[in-house]
């Protein structure tokens, strides 16, 4: 487990008080290694989104340990988690979540702005990231002028422009047709294979999950299956 990037040990996430208390996560143990491509599946309400928010350092567990890069991420405050996200984590969402009426290049530059990178360097890095996702020449298009697949590529470029350690993808193909979905998955797989980018991806489609090295399945706030690498847990 020395090369584990993300670790959960007995992680609980509860909402509400007393009788009305609901456990979104009820004692979850998991580990994601550096360079792994993990798919997270499960019916809605199974806790996959909640664990995804915690993996992405957007949320903290009610109890239990969430380790990220060997740090006890569950104990960090808002500002510290913001730094962690900015430096090590890239996000890709189902709905792309690009800023409207803002060009592709500007969208990709956004995380670098919060790093305080000078404009010229920022622009170069954004161009490079857009070329990497196959969008060279579309830098000055706004989201409205791009197709769904292209928008998701911009979102991926935005996620990788900071050269993150972990990419968190929440239903990245949820809004795309089959062909575009496979193109996006090829892109993500390529980033995982060639760049050694660790990817944690939530999906509910089996054939999308099959791109991953293994699949973690959630059911009722617990892990039903860790996939074929269970022996390490």
């Amino acid at each position: 487990m020395t090369d584990a990037l993300v670790t959960f040990s007995d992680v609980w996430k509860s909402y509400g008080q007393g009788e009305a208390q609901v456990h979104a996560l009820a004692g979850v143990d998991l580990a994601i290694r550096k360079g792994e491509f993990v798919a997270i599946m499960g019916p809605s309400g199974s806790g996959k989104s909640t664990s995804m928010n915690i993996i992405g350092c957007l949320d903290t567990p009610t109890s239990g340990l969430h380790g990220f890069l060997g740090v006890d991420a569950g104990r960090l405050d808002r500002a510290q988690r913001a730094v962690l996200r900015n430096l090590y984590i890239g996000f890709v969402f189902q709905g792309y979540n690009l800023l409207p009426r803002t060009t592709a290049a500007e969208n990709v530059e956004l995380p670098l702005i919060y790093r305080g990178m000078p404009a010229r360097e920022r622009r170069d890095a954004a161009m490079q990231a857009l070329a990497q996702v196959g969008l060279a020449g579309r830098e000055h298009h706004t989201p409205a002028e791009l197709s769904g697949g292209q928008q998701q590529r911009v979102a991926i470029a935005r996620a990788i422009v900071t050269r993150p350690t972990l990419l968190v993808a929440d239903e990245p193909t949820g809004n795309l047709d089959t062909q575009r979905s496979h193109e996006i998955m090829d892109l993500l797989t390529g980033l995982n294979r060639n760049e050694g980018l660790t990817i944690a991806m939530v999906t509910h489609e089996g054939d999308i999950a099959s791109y991953a090295d293994r699949t973690i399945s959630f059911l009722d706030g617990k892990i039903a299956s860790q996939g074929y690498e269970m022996e390490s847990a």
Partner: protein, 402 residues
């Protein structure tokens, strides 16, 4: 980074152009009102000072007044009379002119036309003391003043109104219940700093005024014009001493009259203008407050509208303070823009008013700078709460926001 944020704010203002303009309007009107008020006010003050310096600082004004410590409130004022004027005329040295004046607003009629004018009863020295010139005909004579003859001189406003370009000399006009024959017209003096037309007047012998118009023997004001180079302070002391003696005032009692020089009167008038300006400025300031609330309202809308954007920014590593600054800058840019437009509009209004009222256009750089700083402050103060609300959003909830 800050420049980046300002650019972003300007873009957001431009995108919602209509909304921005409407929001700005409050600030624009507020700032314009303050700027216009203050600029017109200081123009008026300058005009008053100019008028008074034209009269000369060597003019003293004597009026009847209540002693400062008279004790009882029903003390009757001892008004000025011919003998006060006579004693001053006889005893004062080193003076150019001593002149009595009584006046009131009276309706005057010529043929089918009528108007209200300032009717002034005075003597021959009035022209020297108050700096009036005769543009047509002649001035009053000693004989006319002594005899109370029904003659008068008219100001340019009345001349134009009643006679146009015709000859007014020897025409008869009715003044209240009496009538007089026009013997001359006065040179024009224009408006005072308070917008009063100085040329809307009829000048007649004091005795005529007292008998036929006022029905008493009182004098409202005595003007003493001191020779150039003579000390006004000394003249005030002399006039006071002579008046006290003539009126038989015991050394322990206070004066029952007042002697003021023009500098004092100028100060009194300017302080009245300043107080007025200040009050109007404060009223205008209230509309700035209202404008600020408008900004707060629109920023709250903006934060709500852009909840998802805030979520994205927070997710990819923006700090609370980045979001806070973004919306604060946006509010400040908005109100600053309003402030600048307001300054432009205010100066335009003041310029228009200045040429209309024929007062000097006196924009103050200090006031403009204060307006700039103040409008920026309004944005910061009223933008803070909405910005904080945006910054405190939970990224997960914000991302889920539709």
């Amino acid at each position: 980074m800050l420049w980046e944020t300002i650019r972003l704010a300007l873009r957001s203002v431009r995108r919602n152009a209509m909304r921005s303009v409407l929001t700005l309007l409050g600030i624009v009107i507020g700032v314009a009102a303050v700027i216009a008020m203050v600029t017109i006010g200081s123009g008026t003050t300058a005009k008053v000072r100019e008028d008074i310096s034209k009269l000369g600082s060597n003019l003293l004004v004597v009026r009847a007044s209540r002693p400062d410590r008279s004790g009882t409130s029903n003390f009757t004022v001892r008004r000025l009379e011919q003998k006060d004027l006579d004693v001053l005329n006889k005893s004062l040295e080193d003076v150019r002119a001593v002149s009595g004046e009584s006046q009131s607003q009276v309706r005057i009629v010529y043929g089918a036309q009528n108007t209200a004018a300032q009717v002034t009863g005075t003597d021959t020295e009035y022209f020297t003391a108050r700096d009036w010139t005769v543009s047509l005909g002649r001035a009053l004579t000693e004989q006319e003043v002594r005899g109370g003859t029904g003659v008068c001189l008219i100001g340019q406003t009345i001349r134009t109104q009643f006679f146009g370009s015709g000859d007014p000399l020897d025409e008869i006009i009715r003044v209240g219940k009496t009538s007089c024959r026009i013997i001359g017209t006065l040179g024009s003096k224009g408006y005072t700093g308070f917008g009063q037309d100085q040329d809307n007047l009829v000048l007649m012998p004091l005795t005529t005024y007292q008998r036929r118009i006022a029905g008493n023997r009182y004098i409202d004001t005595i003007y003493v014009s001191v020779n150039d180079g003579a000390s006004t302070t000394q003249a005030v002391a002399d006039v006071t001493a002579i008046m006290r003696e003539a009126r038989g005032i015991q050394p322990t009692r206070d004066d029952n009259f007042e002697v003021r020089d023009m500098t004092q009167i100028a100060d009194a008038m300017t302080s009245a203008t300043t107080a007025m300006t200040g009050m109007l400025g404060a009223v205008a300031g209230v509309s700035l407050l209202v404008g600020g609330i408008g900004i707060m309202n629109i920023m709250l809308v903006s934060v709500t509208e852009r909840t998802r954007e805030i979520g994205i920014r927070l997710a990819i590593g923006a700090h609370e303070k980045d979001i806070l600054i973004q919306f604060l800058v946006e509010a400040t840019v908005l109100s600053l823009l309003g402030g600048l437009l307001g300054i432009g509009l205010g100066l335009g209004l003041a310029g228009g008013a200045a040429s209309f009222l024929s007062i000097p256009f006196a924009p103050s750089l200090t006031v403009i700078l204060i307006a700039v700083v103040f409008s920026a402050l309004i944005g910061m103060v009223f933008g803070f709460f909405p910005a904080l609300r945006g910054a405190r959003l939970n990224p997960i909830d914000a991302l889920r926001h539709e």
